[in-house]
């Protein structure tokens, strides 16, 4: 029984017929149907700016033979529209003949509940809480000049119809609560952003006054930055804090281990499986199976159950992250990493929750061992060039380390490094593994998908810091 076709003139029976007719000579493909409800409620400059609500539903029809993908999507879910798409796919692949493998692993695994976070809290209650967050933040100190807070909620239902009539379903809640603050003192301005989220109701992140902690954290970072001094430029030792700084792992290593770049041999890692790519103490996994996490999925967007994939074990490269297409062309199995932003996009191998596991050192040991370096606690965002391996990220909270002690906060430093070499320069892996607060969105080929990261504190021997002080 399809839930997503019920408001259209397209029956599951007809959809199945069109799918069979289109895909029987192909190697792979599916009809992906999606229905997403999304809301944002924003408070900005002391006012509820507006409440916004959107509904987007549509289908993406995909046919693949060899390495050629034909894709057609539309937000008009109807028999006519699907037939038109079918013609389009058939014409692209007309000169090819493939063999469809209908088998797909089944699962009953559930890492989040089927709730609609938009409806489980009234708009009034959301507005009331945003006002409280605003008042509380502004009452903390006179230096708080601007506060912006928002609730973002989403409910996405997906159905995947494969050749042979198999209909796979998932129902995915997602929320995020953000606060940003601008403080001004003695003519100097600084800002901070903080947020939490995951695949649960808003209240799970707000209960028992925990919303105050969000405001407190944003205030703490902004105020710290008011005291920051210009960052040094040049190579030095870097201590990364636990949790969110793992976007270093995501950028430096994660993207380079996605199946497509390795099948196409454009990743610096494509010929390094079985080889040492990181220090002995480094083990990295990509895990889609952690309860309620932003990057978790019951099944990926091709219907493959997600799993915990070991990418690097004790420094040795073990596996790439695969979707069905790249797995088939590389003679391996999908790892449940096939994802798409929505029905308008093709599937690509993408990360879920990418995590470095615990080592044995304490953060204190790391700091104590550094004569001159920086301690990076939080980042704004990062980017990588897969082919050259170079990556950057921008610090939003960082401190200098002088003679084994944490010193003054530093202003807007950028770190730049080389993916394949940076993890070989990991000197110590901490014992304080933390997951990020649930705010990450990863961009690739114009598609954004929610992801998670996690890591313990890390000491890296040598990275280039981009600052203004020589």
């Amino acid at each position: 029984m399809s839930d997503l076709l019920k408001n259209s003139n397209l029956s599951l029976y007809t959809a199945d017929k069109i799918v069979s007719d289109t895909l029987h000579d192909c190697d792979d493909g599916e009809l992906y149907i999606e229905d997403t409800k999304f809301e944002t409620v924003t408070l900005d400059d002391n006012k509820i700016k507006s409440s916004e609500y959107s509904i987007d539903s549509g289908y993406g029809f995909r046919a693949i033979t060899d390495d050629v993908i034909a894709y057609s999507h539309s937000n008009e879910i109807s028999e006519e529209s699907l037939k038109k798409s079918s013609e389009n796919l058939k014409s692209t692949l007309k000169s090819k003949k493939g063999t469809y493998n209908s088998e797909i692993k089944k699962t009953n695994q559930k890492f989040y509940n089927d709730i609609d976070p938009i409806e489980t809290k009234s708009l009034n209650a959301k507005i009331e809480l945003l006002n409280l967050m605003n008042e509380y933040s502004r009452s903390k100190d006179q230096s708080v000049k601007q506060v912006s807070a928002s609730f973002l909620g989403e409910k996405k239902n997906v159905e995947i119809l494969r050749l042979g009539g198999e209909l796979l379903k998932d129902s995915r809640p997602l929320v995020r609560i953000n606060i940003s603050m601008m403080v001004e003192k003695n003519g100097r301005k600084e800002t901070a952003v903080y947020g939490v989220g995951g695949r649960q109701s808003y209240d799970e992140y707000l209960k028992d006054g925990s919303w105050k902690k969000l405001c407190d954290e944003a205030f703490r970072i902004a105020t710290t930055n008011l005291k920051s001094k210009p960052s040094p430029a040049g190579e030095m030792k870097v201590v990364l804090g636990p949790g969110w700084p793992a976007i270093l792992i995501h950028e430096a290593i994660g993207h380079g281990l996605e199946g497509d770049f390795n099948r196409k041999k454009t990743s610096v890692f494509h010929n390094l499986v079985g080889r040492r790519v990181a220090s002995e103490g480094v083990t990295i996994i990509d895990d889609g199976t952690i309860d309620n996490r932003r990057g978790s999925l019951n099944i990926d967007d091709e219907g493959t159950p997600t799993e915990k994939t070991v990418l690097i074990e004790k420094g040795i490269l073990k596996n790439f992250m695969q979707d069905r297409l790249n797995a088939r062309l590389m003679n391996t199995k999908s790892t449940g990493n096939g994802r798409r932003e929505n029905y308008k996009h093709i599937v690509l191998p993408r990360m879920r929750n990418t995590i470095m596991l615990n080592g044995t050192h304490t953060q204190e040991e790391m700091i104590n061992s550094v004569t001159k370096g920086i301690f990076a606690v939080s980042f704004g965002g990062g980017q990588v060039d897969i082919t050259s391996g170079k990556f950057v990220f921008n610090c939003t909270e960082a401190y200098e380390i002088v003679n084994g002690k944490i010193g003054a906060p530093l202003k807007g430093a950028t770190l730049i490094g080389d993916g394949p070499s940076s993890l070989k320069e990991v000197l110590m892996v901490g014992n304080d593994m933390m997951l990020d607060p649930g705010i990450g969105t990863c961009g690739k080929s114009g598609q954004g998908v929610p992801v998670g990261v996690g890591q313990p504190s890390l000491l890296i021997d040598n990275m280039t810091v981009g600052g203004t002080q020589l």
């Binding site: 408001n7 900005d44 006012k47 509820i48 507006s50 409440s51 916004e52 609500y53 959107s54 509904i55 987007d56 549509g58 390495d67 050629v68 993908i69 034909a70 894709y71 999507h73 937000n75 008009e76 529209s81 798409s85 389009n88 692209t92 708009l123 009034n124 507005i127 601007q146 601008m182 301005k189 600084e190 960052s231 430029a233 040049g234 190579e235 196409k264 454009t266 308008k344 093709i346 704004g380 965002g381 980017q383 060039d385 082919t387 050259s388 170079k390 990556f391 950057v392 921008n394 807007g412 430093a413 950028t414 730049i416 490094g417 080389d418 280039t464 981009g466 600052g467 203004t468 020589l470």
Partner: protein, 439 residues
Amino acid sequence: MIKEKDYLNNIAEQCLSKSNKLGSTDASVMVMHSVSEDVSVRNRKLDGSTRSENLGITLTTYIGKKKSTISSSDLNTKNLDGLINRCVESTKITPEDDLNSLADKELYFKGDKDLDLYDETVLENKKKIEYINEAEEEAFSRKDIVNTNGSGFSQNKSNFILANSSGFSDGYKTSHFTAYCEVVSKNNGSMERDYEYSSKRFFNDILKPKQLGSKAAELALKKLNPKKIKSEKLNIIFDKRIAKGFLSSFSSAISSSAFAKGTTFLKDKLNKKIFGDKINIQDKADIKKANGSRYFDVEGVKTNPLDLVKDGALNDLLIDTYNGKKIKKKSNGRANGSSNLYFLNGDLSFEELLNSNKKLLYITETIGRGSNIITGDFSVGASGLMVENGEFSYPVSEITIAGNLNNIYKNISLANDLEFNYSTNSPTMLVEGMIVGGK
């Protein structure tokens, strides 16, 4: 096929009349339809084709000074009625904001639409594939070009209607043709990638395949076997495609919303010098066929040309209705930001720029977010070429460049090689005295 005006109008009318019946005092609706057909090619072989069709609405309803917005791609009548109802109900419980309103009627766009923003040309996928194959063929004819990251061609056409309850109703078709080629070079264990792309409203205006392929190849080859340089203060030349990035952060920093909230480093700089005397920036929406051209913004307000920076002084801002009221200025049709934003030409030739100092760094790519528009701090990862005595000497990578936009703006000199390839455009740019972080 792109939906015609009557079809979109009909939906817009329905939304407005239904909102009115349900108690909204004002309403504004945008109905959009777009069709795009893309192909991608790898190693001169078809990699994929995608056809996208999107029809959607965005409706904002007002009850007095209360406001709420919905958008949807599900336009069957039953669902649409439910959504409009939801929008009006949300409006009722959203708190009042005195500044909420539709735009001033007298600012609405009226007049002829003669900017040539739509090309009727329809290219069969076969033609697109040939185009891109030829580009890749050209790139692969160069020694050391060993792979592609994928190249492609996309044809996009769209039509829209914007209508509101104070009588504005207008819309028009636009088209975009985009070709890109991204290749990988390899030599002595060094692997680099680079790309060239061309996106225009008219098919005949995009770069020819051979130019596309040879430019991508040339750029990827130039980057091979880079060196890391030591940290030092240097004069930096930004290639046009990087230099235009300074305009993007500039446009965020001069938006009326940033000014109203005080969240921009330029907050107190209106009518003051922020650049050197020779720098001029314009935003001009009425350039024929240009990528950023438009008649009006999402509020229906005519997008008049603006001299944003005149002889180095900040002369105007990008203003929408709501934030305009906060800073006591009228909207200038920039509710969706700048249109064709560009630095006017400087008085130096490209060669003069290269010879302006014995040692310069020429930046061809930056990675990372870069600009903090509240503090003006600027810091990015970069790669490029070292220039010694006016000649390109060797590629440089894994460095950072940093500064503060307040200082950077004062130290900009521009070449006289402006071209209108994108919606923001800059001549080649020299910035004196930036801090390079390296070894």
